[in-house]
Symmetry: C2
């Protein structure tokens, strides 16, 4: 199990911290704001009300023993940058930092952040993708050309068997699983019939999949 320190318990930071705890990891949460710390004090492993730009404080907390640090200070760019470089100097091996904009992100990379996150921007892209393909619930981009997507059964797919649809031979599309209610059929066969509200997990070339979902 890894040990994480999350600095800045705003909406992003508190979500990272609580999810890490839920998955069984140890999390130290640090924030200037007493109320935000209190709200998480029974959920996280440890919480501290403090200033992450205070180098002595960070050393005294034994931050150097942590595997990963997440710096999720929002509006105060200077604090975000200082906290990051302090943690880098202390020697935490992997640092994730949230950036407000590209320039902030560049600075964070140069001073030692291993990964820079733009939560609003990245979610904006995901939502745009979801909206454009309203029945693609989620997707993995395997390469510029191939994707895995979840597709809600369209009218044209419903009521036919996978054998009848013959997607692999016709379009090179591999139906790798069928989801019905919460049940997963991980070895779909030629006789499986697509029902209303089924979710097909499909793999294939992206433009072909885009055509499929709009049929």
């Amino acid at each position: 199990m890894k040990e994480f320190v999350v600095i800045g318990l705003g909406r992003f930071g508190s979500s990272v911290a609580t999810n890490l705890c839920r998955m069984g990891h140890e999390v130290l949460g640090i924030d200037l704001n007493e109320e935000r710390v209190q709200r998480l004090s029974n959920i996280l492993t440890h919480t501290v009300i403090g200033d992450a730009t205070d180098e002595d404080l960070m050393k005294s907390l034994g931050v150097r023993n942590f595997d990963v640090a997440v710096v999720s200070i929002g509006e105060d760019m200077q604090a975000s940058i200082l906290a990051t470089i302090i943690i880098k100097d202390i020697g935490v091996p992997y640092i994730v930092a949230k950036a407000l904009n590209d320039l902030h992100g560049k600075v964070l990379e140069k001073i030692g952040a291993d990964r820079v996150v733009y939560p609003e921007r990245e979610m904006g892209q995901r939502i745009a993708n979801n909206l454009v393909s309203t029945n693609i619930l989620d997707y993995i981009e395997l390469s510029p050309e191939y994707s895995i997507m979840e597709i809600i059964a369209t009218k044209k797919l419903t009521g036919k068997t996978l054998g009848q649809l013959n997607l692999r031979a016709l379009y090179g599309i591999n139906v790798i699983a069928l989801k019905r209610d919460k049940h997963i059929n991980a070895s779909p066969g030629a006789n499986d019939m697509i029902q209303v509200d089924d979710i097909l997990i499909v793999m294939g070339k992206r433009d072909v999949l885009e055509n499929l979902k709009s049929k």
Copy 2:
């Protein structure tokens, strides 16, 4: 091609808007803030400097003809709620709204938002998942039990063929694709050998996959 209206061009809203344009759709962007509108005026189809809580303005913009509205007003909860109900009354068929917190989200759902987004919270969960499984690059949650994951080849996997690893027989894991550099092998076979830095796209029960990546 669908027509979208995006209200509130902060980091989330501008990302949704620019990504929708990049995918070839028409986007009208509305914001109170002149500078934010100017920044996008050459990128989006149309931009308007205005107040989305002004019902006459929204009607005059022909918002009722849009397929999807995205309300991405941040801090001003009241404006976010008012803009949403105005758009609902006008008759836009699908409304996405960004919420600051759960209560705000509940209100938005009750007044007509079809989807409520919590960008920072949702990104926090994704980042937590990425951090916990450092070689799981992305995953689809098929059900509480099954997942599709991308896994970087671990030492134990490298240098063996898929036939030797025998993952399906041993663990019920289906290797559905292999990614090497940017090239996708979408029909991996028993003789394919796993190389350093290969990415395996695998499907199976989540706890089994978690074990696999730590081998």
